[in-house]
Amino acid sequence: MSAAALRRVVVVGNGIAGITAADTLREAGFDGELTVVGDERHPAYSRPALSKALLLDGDDDGAAHTLPPATHGATELLGVRATGLDTDRRLVTLDDGTALPYDGVVLATGSRARRLSALPDEVTLRGLDDALELRRRLADRPSVLVVGGGPLGMEIASGCLASGCRVTLVSQGEPLAAQLGPYLARVLTAAGREKGLTVVETGAARIEGTPGDARVVLAEGAELGAEVLLSAVGDVPNTEWLHGTGLVVDGAVPVDERGLARPGIAAVGDLAVFPTSRGRRRVPLWSSAIDQAKVAARALVHGADAPPLAFRPYFWTEQFGRTLKAVGHLPADGEPEYVDGGPDGPALMTWCQEDGGTTAVALDYRIPIPRLRRLSRAAA
């Protein structure tokens, strides 16, 4: 499709994927009618900050992590939810009853927290309102039980500890091992324990009980409770509104190497499954959403002339006083090679991966990311 045939584009989603797509459409020369639909009333904000700085910064009402105002000149419909997509008539339907016609559409409705129960006691952290509410509760220094030993669960546990709470983290196996690999998992989990984190490893955990009296039940039979019960057990793509379009496979939207699900239909960010050197997968990370959105927006305007995604994940986390930045695929198995530093202090490390790629990791080590990228290498 040429830019001339593309008169109306609707971007559904106002997170970093949606607004990057909208910005990039303009950069790529699209000067037609652009509409951005977002179900949150807040202006777009930085989601990575929610489980990091925002939990600790008592003065920050979220405004400090609001993204710069949009300049794409789109009509912004905030606080409105898309309820359906009619790919034959090319319409996005909204929960206020309106229908938006499109020539091109960007699906960027992201994902939501996966839950272990329907109990209101189970708290999750996904959006700005969640973070502000959690921080309010932490002010009373409640005891906290975090279910989930991934990066988000560990960042939340770290924030709760720093707020003066007693924190227990329940993890399926060693925290972070599945996401980062054994070496980095060991470093960060040790940092957590040094700060007073109690780690409970289990085969599986459930949340049971009644509203106001929920508890965590471990596979081994033990039961745990706390004043605040948080879960961080992954995310579920928001694809229900695409029901009946044939675009959704196993709950997510598969796209090609340019982010297109079909001609004129792009899907970017946490709901998109795209080809990587390790197969087709979702990569729900900030930098991934940005890269996908840029590629897909250009593909909507320029079609197959647009460059495909050359994806190299960038991941960072801050927890228990340590910071980790990584370029390349994780988990990293085995022991690292030290480019600088050593096992106990700040270190710059690389791992040669089985697929021929190299993952570069900076631990408590300030380094320009372009330099970290040069140390990493994509799989052949």
Binding site: S46, T71, W316, K325
Partner: protein
């Protein structure tokens, strides 16, 4: 337009440099250096793109 850096907030992720390499770069210590602060025209758009990708909202274009 002027690029404004909130230095204490900057964590050196460098996504801004990737978005606008001709306006800013991280030095060998990982500190962000603004090579240009006053921008207009296409550079202003680049500056805004750089500010947008910062995960800690350390950049503003005012």
């Amino acid at each position: 337009m002027r690029i404004v850096l909130d230095r204490p907030r900057c964590e050196g992720h460098g996504l801004c440099e990737e978005a606008a390499p001709r306006l800013m770069h991280l030095d060998d210590e990982g500190e962000l250096v603004l090579d240009r602060e006053e921008v207009d025209g296409p550079d202003a758009a680049l500056a805004r793109a750089a500010a947008r990708v910062c995960p800690v909202a350390a950049l503003r274009v005012a």
